[in-house]
């Protein structure tokens, strides 16, 4: 008994010395293994209990258990100290958070797609589908089916690029009205974004290649007020909640009544007489709209007595000029890295 107690005391002292001298968690673990591990000194000592008399055994066992508890507590304490020290070191570190960030190589969506996507999202939220179609179209879809027969003076407004006797690059997205209505029975509710072409001289306000977004809703009991409702909603979606929308009578052969659509100048809201966005009028032009002409409905086999509907077509780059306050519409086809970066 005394031998074992003495042995245990000395062993405990050696343990204390080893634990105290451990410089880090790893050394501490070595000490644990050396004393408390599977072949550690304490474990070895515990195996000698069997050699003791039955009377001595409980006392020896208790003494060893107590010593183990004390050692483990000591180890935990020292481990905690190391952990605290490690955290203290880590927390003592300090960096300059204003140092430039490392770019992660993010790409960007072209502003034209962003506008189209935003516009289309507004309409899909209201139950419209988004359809796309070809850019090279026969004159039938571009004109004849839209109540613009050859020799119609309105064709002059569409100065087009011709590819063959009958094929041209679409000067508007309106062919998608015809394609959609020929493929689907009413009701139809679509928006049709896409690229269009007109032989316009290029300047800060004109491109010969531009995008339009077309809208068409034909069903029973659809009226002009619905057109106003949706386009007002669209402008508020694109430009903000205080946006006003104005409808002015106009003329398009495929709508009757027809309207030009203006919205409050997002730059000056009509407050600046010298505004270079709206020319001081306080309004910017978005495009044409109107109730689908009965001849167009009849052309696609719809009964104009039963169904009515509206359509509109807006220039997307024009919307972009106003939305991003871009100075020159040509930037939308220039793909200048700086332009893309700023508007991404």
């Amino acid at each position: 008994m005394t031998d074992l107690a003495e042995e245990l005391r000395r062993l405990h002292e050696r343990f204390n010395a080893a634990a105290e001298s451990a410089g880090d968690e790893e050394a501490l673990e070595e000490a644990r293994v050396a004393y408390l591990g599977r072949n550690g000194e304490v474990t070895v000592l515990r195996r000698t209990i069997g050699t003791l008399s039955p009377q001595e055994r409980p006392g020896a066992g208790k003494a060893i258990n107590d010593a183990v508890s004390t050692m483990e507590a000591r180890l935990a304490e020292l481990r905690a100290r190391f952990e605290t020290r490690a955290f203290d070191e880590e927390l003592a570190a300090s960096i300059d958070v204003t140092f430039p960030g490392t770019p992660s190589g993010m790409g960007s969506i072209h502003p034209v797609r962003r506008i189209l996507a935003d516009a289309c999202t507004f309409f899909t939220r209201h139950g419209f589908a988004v359809v796309v179609g070809p850019e090279a179209e026969p004159d039938y879809y571009n004109f004849d089916a839209l109540n613009i027969p050859s020799e119609h003076p309105a064709r002059e407004g569409f100065d087009s690029f011709w590819l063959t006797e009958t094929m041209l690059l679409r000067p508007h997205t309106s062919p998608m009205q015809i394609r959609t209505m020929q493929r689907h029975k009413p009701p139809v509710a679509i928006v049709a974004p896409g690229k269009c072409f007109r032989r316009d001289a290029v300047d800060a306000r004109h491109l010969f290649q531009f995008h339009q977004v077309e809208g068409l809703l034909v069903a029973e009991d659809i009226h002009f007020g619905h057109l106003k409702g949706m386009l007002t909603g669209l402008c508020r979606e694109l430009f903000g909640p205080n946006q006003s929308v104005r409808f002015r009578p106009s003329y398009f052969p495929f709508t009757e009544p027809s309207a030009e659509v203006d919205t409050t100048c997002p730059k000056c809201a009509g407050r600046t007489a010298s505004c270079n966005m709206c020319g001081g009028s306080g309004w910017i032009e978005l495009g044409g709209s109107g109730m689908v002409h009965p001849s167009v409905l009849r052309e696609v086999g719809y009964d104009p007595e039963r169904y009515s509907g509206w359509a509109f077509g807006f220039g997307v780059e024009r919307l972009g000029l106003a939305r991003y306050e871009v100075d020159d519409i040509r930037r939308f086809v220039s793909s200048e890295p700086d332009f893309l970066r700023q508007l991404s």
């Binding site: 589908a129 850019e135 011709w162 007020g225 009578p249 793909s335 991404s344």
Partner: protein, 776 residues
């Protein structure tokens, strides 16, 4: 067209503010593109020169006594030379405000001058459109009248845009009528009764012969006793304000009537029309005419001419000819007020490359009824000038009233979403000149006025009602859209591709679809806007490479757009996706290109995201691409496109110093997303072995991977080639591929022995199929 507001006010009472009038016109469908603000002028009165004397002290000055309806005539010194006693002139009195100066009493070489006689220039009129020196007023003008008021000089001028369906509104009267209807004001018409009652002697009868179906109506009227000279000042001022240069009294009358009523007119010198006979016919081959602009033109059968028995005298609806032009000698004229087929006039105008104020109206198909009105108005004005008017001759179809259109109030509400009582609808339409009768059932029978050819169906009338009611009055309502089955898949796919590529670090660009170069299969534009844009692109590659070249630093970009090519006589159009980057070649052996692998990784990530499947890239070739660094992108053996390094010779040719790596896909070939089935992973641990296989350089990594899968079947849960080495240690023509093979069982833990046995089978197969050896 330029519209002086003072001219409008002659027919309709209008508010004072120019902006209010412009806004009202815009809201009626006639937007005002610009407003010319005229300067304010005051203190200018009409005067009559009583006498003109030499200045006592100056050779170059005259002293006039001018009656201005005050107690004493004014004494005015002037340097002008075109003054004489009896003339009516405009005088700026003391205190007058002119655009350039204010008039004060002053002494000119010892003579106290009490004002200034003024020229057109001083009234802010184009001076080269008026006589040099002092502006001459008409003999009938009483002295002492306010000249600004008399001539409507204090006016703003609106530049009004008129849509192609409203040639009737390309006139002062037409716009006045619109404003009158909108304001609910009365319309004061000018005299429109033709004063021509004289009968021509039987042997001097004017005759008209219409020999073309493209002339619908022709009014001809003879006037004698004509003296060519300046038009009255009020008319010249009015024309000038409307942007029309005054020429002489006859030309001015025809222009004035055209601007006022919208009906173009033409005057022939009656003495130069053979047999007083006017024939409307197609030109004959080889016929020529010298038009009023002095150009000799060759005519073909597409031209419609007005001729006498000898030769063409003018181009119908377009321009008169020189041979019968009114000159200073003219004493008798023939007036033409005619109606032609609009498209015919437009075709002729386009073929001859000639446009005129007249053709811009005729080509929009004027109403035949305007012919009589235009002739009557001109006759009244010529009568004022002292001409003797004969009875007009008319040829062509008789004027018939338009067919009545049935319109129900419910129709209006159905299309507008605004209930307007039938009586109010009728009022609006009547204000525009329609005849409206209501039947017992409440249906309106609406007969459009003779000058409106654009009103033919009920929807046309609904627009008229809405215009007068005001579009602003229609309430905005969000519709509830009925269910339908139209798919947005194509657009959604494009957006998903774009979003994913942006996430992968690519910037979307939009480039020109029309390009300078093409080949035999390219689609060519028949009427290109310039040589730079003659061909439709058949690939997105050139646009991307130009973008890389312009970006200076290495750039990553993508574009989604249509490409075109010709197949037989058809135009084949495809939605294409191109993405890629420019990269300067790094320090790598020739058999390795990490830039390609980066692009391939992006291609796999992109297609995995939108199709649910990883594409297979198989070796291939494509024109424009590097022959040794090009792959075909496939899914399930369907070709989606090309991936590779662009031919460095072509990139260099486009001023790109770096290499370009491009993936070009056919968006239409991308299969829809395949919903995958989930398989729970094994509960048992896996093990792996890394092999270094030495094979011929021609053996593809993917072939090795496939062979391993084949041999191991379900035991193999992953195989990937992760490194390649070539060099002295493996010998010429050989390469070492490092392969990691992961194995796992679903029923129990795989043992080392089992794994080793499997690898042994793999090695046998590798030896057999590829002549592979294990690298020492």
């Amino acid at each position: 067209m330029l519209v002086p507001i003072s001219w409008l006010r002659e027919y309709v009472a209008l508010p004072n503010e120019t902006d209010a009038i412009a806004h009202r016109l815009a809201m009626l469908g006639f937007p005002v593109a610009a407003i010319e603000r005229r300067p304010r002028i005051s203190g200018v009165v009409s005067g009559r020169i009583e006498s003109v004397d030499k200045h006592p002290n100056a050779d170059r000055l005259l002293v006039a006594r001018v009656e201005v309806a005050r107690e004493q005539p004014l004494t005015i010194a002037t340097a002008a030379t075109n003054v004489a006693a009896g003339q009516r002139i405009a005088v700026a009195t003391i205190g007058a405000k002119l655009p350039q100066l204010a008039i004060e009493a002053r002494t000119m070489r010892g003579v106290a001058s009490q004002g200034m006689m003024i020229s057109a220039d001083e009234l802010a009129l184009p001076s080269d459109w008026f006589e040099d020196g002092i502006m001459q007023l008409d003999a009938a003008v009483e002295p002492g009248l306010d000249v600004v008021e008399l001539f409507g000089l204090e006016t703003d001028v609106l530049d009004v845009e008129v849509t192609a369906n409203r040639p009737d509104a390309m006139s002062i009267l037409g716009l006045a009528r619109e404003l009158a209807a909108s304001y609910g004001a009365g319309l004061r018409l000018p005299p429109l009764q033709n004063p021509g009652i004289l009968e021509e002697p039987p042997d001097e009868q004017t005759s008209i012969s219409i020999e073309s179906p493209d002339c619908y109506r022709f009014v001809a009227q003879r006037f004698d006793g004509v003296a060519v000279g300046p038009a009255p000042a009020w008319m010249r001022v009015r024309l000038a304000l409307a942007g029309q240069r005054p020429i002489n009294n006859l030309v001015d009358v025809s222009n004035y009537v055209m601007l006022e009523t919208g009906q173009p007119l033409h005057f022939y010198d009656a003495a130069k029309v053979a047999n007083r006979r006017l024939v409307v016919r197609s030109a004959r081959d080889g016929e020529r005419i010298v038009t009023l602009d002095g150009v000799e033109r060759n005519l073909g059968p597409q031209a419609l001419v007005i001729a006498d028995d000898r030769q063409p005298l003018g181009l119908a609806g377009l321009m008169g000819g020189a041979t019968s032009e009114v000159t200073a000698m003219t004493t008798a004229i023939l007036l033409e007020s005619a109606n032609f087929n609009g498209p015919r006039v437009r075709r002729m105008s386009a073929a001859l490359g000639l446009r005129s104020e007249a053709s811009s109206r005729h080509e929009k198909s004027l109403a035949p009824a305007l012919t009589d009105l235009g002739a009557a108005r001109a006759a009244a004005l010529l009568d004022d000038l002292g001409a003797k008017a004969y009875r007009p001759h008319v040829a062509g179809a008789p004027l018939t009233a338009a067919q009545p259109i049935a319109l129900r109030a419910s129709n209006v509400e159905r299309l507008l979403g605004l209930a307007i009582p039938a009586e109010r609808i009728a009022d609006h339409l009547r204000a525009l000149g329609c005849r409206v009768d209501a039947n017992a059932e409440g249906t309106l029978s609406v007969t459009p006025p003779p000058w409106r050819r654009d009103l033919t169906i009920a929807a046309d009338l609904v627009e008229e009602v809405a215009r007068i009611e005001g579009y602003d009055r229609i309430p905005a309502v969000v519709p509830s859209v009925p269910a339908h089955e139209i798919s947005s898949a194509a657009f959604d796919l494009e957006n998903a591709l774009a979003a994913r590529l942006a996430g992968l670090g690519y910037h979307e660009i939009v480039t020109h679809s029309l390009r300078a170069t093409g080949d035999a299969a390219s689609v060519e534009v028949r009427n290109p806007i310039s040589e730079e844009h003659r061909f439709l692109r058949d690939s997105l590659a050139p646009g991307l490479i130009e973008h890389f070249a312009g970006a200076q630093t290495p750039a990553r970009a993508f574009e989604i757009g249509q490409i075109f090519r010709r197949s037989d006589e058809h135009i084949v159009e495809q939605t294409a996706l191109g993405f890629g980057f420019s990269a300067v070649r790094g320090d790598e052996p020739p058999w390795r290109d990490s830039a390609f692998l980066r692009l391939k990784g992006d291609c796999e990530a992109l297609l995995r995201a939108v199709t649910g499947r990883v594409p297979e890239i198989v070796p291939g070739e494509s024109s424009g691409f590097h022959p040794g660094k090009t792959g075909i992108v496939t899914i399930d053996d369907t070709t989606l496109g090309i991936i590779g390094c662009f031919d460095p010779r072509l990139t260099k040719a486009r001023n790109l110093a770096a290499n370009a790596y491009l993936c070009l896909l056919d968006v239409g070939a991308i299969p829809p997303y395949a919903t995958p089935q989930y398989r729970a992973p094994s509960r048992f641990p896996s093990t792996y072995r890394d092999l270094a296989l030495v094979v011929a350089t021609s053996v593809h990594a993917r072939a090795i991977e496939r062979a391993v899968s084949d041999v191991l079947g379900g035991l193999c849960t992953g195989v990937a080639v992760f490194d390649e080495y070539r060099g002295a240690q493996v010998g010429d023509g050989r390469k070492s591929l490092a392969v990691r093979i992961t194995m796992q069982r679903f029923d129990t833990t795989i043992t080392d022995e089992e794994a080793d046995e499997a690898i042994a089978r793999v090695l046998d197969a590798m030896r057999e199929r590829f002549g592979a050896t294990i690298r020492a």
